[in-house]
Symmetry: D2
């Protein structure tokens, strides 16, 4: 109830269902006078869409962005921007069969308990990963504004199963490795690791199984002194946004859980002067201290669970008959959603950070000519 | 700016500074007619206070709760409840010396950049862990209401440095191990592990160093069907609240980051019927699917970084002179804050969960006689 | 910025422009399981549309409601409901001529100063009365739910210029006078007065002028004990909503401004027992005391200014040339918008009141079968 | 529930009760670096306090402001500022007698229905006008910041009963008539009218009765282009705030209800150029068009009802015995609260306007040295 709006000054409202007519987003609070770049939004959408490689579900999502409001003479007007994609290649027939059989680790049971049987269950309805296409469109606008301030938000696949890319990438060379990232189907940087990841995904797909992974996100050039202690800490806002993405199980900033085994003398980031500017010698803090940005790159890593829907037989319950049954799911699904979540993580981070900058007055409400 | 209020129906507003007159919290939205239990609030405060063992800072915090508003005839009235503790044993002399020397991984630099030199820097002011005493008082009221509904929120120290208690505790036996927890200075369950943890903390203290750790929190008997997809998922709200606690570096739900290495067939929790009730055979999901409670225990783990303030010499910068200096900090500080954060984690979880139950109408606005 | 969302549990988000593709509303927080009545929404839209009598603008608004999301099997699902109407009969040619000439008491100047020339000025864009069609669609859903609880929200034209219907209508006879209201073009109750109002509007239209008026709104059967002191008083929320409607200049509850000339002994409403129930002998308080409902009808009156756009010559400024000019506006406009605002006032009142009932848990989040 | 916080960036949280220990306010979002002027806050409090003339209740309110947090070295720090006044001269004995007898047009019945008998009824508890002392303290901080930008917020008593000061005061001469205002006990401008108002109040006091009145508020020099269409219009926010004050029955902007009888040609404010600046020839719009400031003075008038508590015998109900009774109230009360509400109206207007300026980035988050 009232749960589909997020953000304070850069405010997004999500609507639509996986197998309804469309999925959409309203972006409110975009400063007037921004050149509106539909191509960039489309590029971001393409980064998350499926059906375009052997690694993803065979559902062909065309996902062409349609602008319904808020743009005039190719510029933002200060009015709410409504963006949608239509649902074309939907096949709901598979879902009806499973209406009374609870898919393991899927939302059937929790939805039933919350919405009393009235929710649109087709393709998981509001709980589908497809809803995040709206996030990506809103994030594309946020990123476009951040670019005006030389702030970049880039994520990549850090691990799939046991294939881990543990390298700490040189933060000055983003354009280069982003190019690399977009060339790999798994959205990884290291081409050797990418190959191993692809092989692993293909293998679990053959096994009618799925696999989890992790995504690292790095924000460069975010200004120092933004954020707040306690409730509006950068970590609080980013984690809130990231856990709005289905399938996320964890988030850590900087060294994260490794900090639990470290001593203060190891973990502390010494302050140094570099080119006349104060910064830290290393960045175990992940660019945030006391909830406020340090001026160093903001870094966080998220854990993505394996896709719940698998082809292998699973034990479960028929809620109508209240008996135990076995289920094999033959619908279309991704063996690993990590590569597709990469752009969603970027989008949510960008949405949160632009909100901070609008709140603090760093970004004006109008981009004057 | 406007950043010290949290929650929708159960709304808390934090105020006060570490070395000002007091630290306080206003709790708005507590249903009228609740028997107000000051002793329980005091007990919760005592769980986080320092100066009472060799493991914590020598700052003696008496921390007696004082009720300023909202209670009449020993019952809640529906009015905002203002609770404070006074700051007695404060010694600001140490901090003044360090005003221009940035303490590594401490908030001096970020505060300066955000507040332009006007913030109360004494004892880290609004950024002090002492602010969380207010959270604990508000959490005590939340817990008291949850108890009326047989919902319990219990956290314990899962690890200090490399000493890890990996056991998955039997969720039916809380009262017992809570009693154990309160007997150990480190707020752990396993007495053997607790002893090792204590020894480790004493050792790093002798070394003028500090150490991190992790805390696990388990919520029992939370009703099924509460929460929401996307922005108001239980994970979003809990993580938002938890990252409001200083020194938290990560959070994971259920198996968390381990999910990144699991296959769907391993991670999925099969639905079963037990005593006529639908539940899951195991709980890798941590009691939440699709942002909504499953009826199984809600489980999450948080990473706590080592205390930034240590006695060892550290490299840093004098911002007035803009040169490199070495710093040794002799103020009072905790070698490990994990045991003290345990009750703060419980408090923040309870605050979020009571808010969900008020929003969903599970808990009424008045406890009728 | 971020200014197009209203409400807490029953949350509406407005989008679209007067001369863009569409005008829309997202309604979030509608309980699942409600039979969705498109016909009733259409009826409400028809009540505010123009082009259907000699009294309104000649712009023919077909205004057929289109449902984009949130409905499944003709029932609400708990998901956000997106409703739009398309903009068909739009003629922007007139507006372009006046781009640099400030229309008196119109938004040209304030929009320019706020949005720096980027706003969609055609047909006043986001500032058009047409935006309120979205409010009416959302209000229709709110009213439909209120009807389930026997709560009715009815408004009527109380005055046009000096023609005032001062009668205090018998509150038990609504169905009857609502039927009357819908039969009069001016949305009045008294047919004699309605005739005089119509004549007055026709007269000012001939004079190329416009005229103001007032609207009274009465809510029957709203439960006692809903609302709050200070910031969430019923008056605060209703007035906030009502002033979201363009052209409103004032609001008063109960006897309103007449109270300024009354003594306490006159104004006070004596408590009486009637049919075993406590109520007041009269209702000068307008059904609200201390921000909380008394169980008596909630009554308020709003002032609507005369349409700013008139055909008579007016003195104004050309902002490009910065000189004084005279303007005569030949676009389509209403000589009196009061009759069309009646359904908007009802809608905003219904939206606020349903929000209160959801917050207080009077209305559940699911209408169980 | 959760209803005592107001504002977005300049956020106030109200707490305390009329006959509890204190009444307080937390002001969050005050920019750091403001010289904190306790004397000015005290002056504003003195403007609303009672017991200092024959016109008000004999309750002696000393109302000395006490600062509990947020100030360091006499400057604001960016932290929440907690301000309280203690309740000294309270006499609750009178109230207990009337516990079961509903005072006409008083909150006894609505409180009972909302809070189920648990509310602190002494002196009307949270519903007392005394709560507005907190608003005045917060408003004093807001006004102090507005003064830095040459924005003034001034209100005065426009009418008491039938004694009306209808003059449209020259807006350039505020300091002068403010001085006049503070010299009259009724907070009026015109000394002749003030004398008549005083006499009227004394007369109704002798009659054991009370009288209503109206207050006009004028904001000078507020920048053009601030505000928003629909939900965040200046009128929406100001009316929301004003109806948070007990006893307010109506609000109108500019000519307000008179607009209902005007033609467009009369009501429209012609744009003119004066000293090279665009403004309107008159100001019937009250400084706001389309929810956005025009740069002309923002003007609104509010209706205040007569005090409900009077000494004359009144008919009412004993809810315990459920019978009709007569009541005569002998507690201390104001025969007319209009003069005391004047400073509260100013405070709420200032709080809303500073919030707009912070949101739009006109006022920074830190006042740099």
């Amino acid at each position: 109830m009232g749960e589909n709006t997020f953000g304070e000054r850069f405010k997004i409202t999500s609507f639509g269902e996986s197998h309804g007519d469309l999925v959409g987003i309203i972006v409110d609070g975009v400063p007037a006078g921004l050149d509106f770049d539909t191509n960039f939004i489309q590029h971001e959408l393409d980064m998350r869409k499926s059906g375009h490689s052997t690694l993803t579900t065979s559902r062909m999502e065309l996902d062409k962005v349609i602008v319904l409001s808020g743009i005039f003479d190719n510029k933002t007007t200060g009015a709410p921007i409504c963006l949608i994609i239509e649902n074309k290649d939907k096949d709901s027939s598979k879902y009806i069969n499973y209406k009374n059989i609870l898919r393991p680790s899927q939302v059937d049971f929790t939805i039933l308990k919350k919405y009393g049987g009235y929710a649109d269950y087709r393709g998981s309805g509001r709980f589908s990963g497809r809803i995040t296409a709206g996030f990506v469109m809103a994030g594309a606008i946020a990123k476009q504004i951040l670019r005006k301030y030389d702030i970049s938000v880039y994520a990549y696949t850090k691990s799939i199963g046991n294939v881990v890319d543990g390298e700490n990438y040189d933060i000055d060379n983003y354009e280069k490795f982003i190019n690399l990232r977009e060339k790999t189907l798994v959205r990884a940087i290291n081409t050797e690791k990418a190959k191993l990841m692809e092989e692993l995904i293909k293998k679990v797909k053959t096994q009618k199984n799925s696999i989890g992974g992790s995504i690292k996100c790095i924000v460069n050039n975010f200004p120092v002194g933004i954020g707040a202690p306690i409730f509006n800490s950068i970590e609080s806002k980013i984690s809130h946004a990231i856990f709005s993405i289905p399938a996320i199980k964890g988030i850590e900033f900087g060294v994260g859980f490794r900090a639990t085994k470290m001593k203060g003398s190891e973990h502390n980031d010494p302050w140094i002067i570099k080119e006349g500017k104060i910064q830290t010698e290393k960045n175990d803090s992940g660019g945030i201290i006391g909830g406020i940005s340090t001026g160093m790159p903001i870094e966080f890593t998220v854990a993505v669970k394996p896709t719940a829907t698998i082809g292998l037989p699973q034990k479960t319950v028929n809620i109508e008959k209240m008996n135990s049954v076995e289920i094999e799911f033959h619908g279309r699904h991704d063996p690993c959603i990590v590569p597709r979540v990469v752009s969603v993580v970027e989008a949510m981070a960008a949405i949160v950070l632009i909100d901070f900058l609008l709140i603090e007055g760093v970004i004006p409400t109008v981009f004057k000519p």
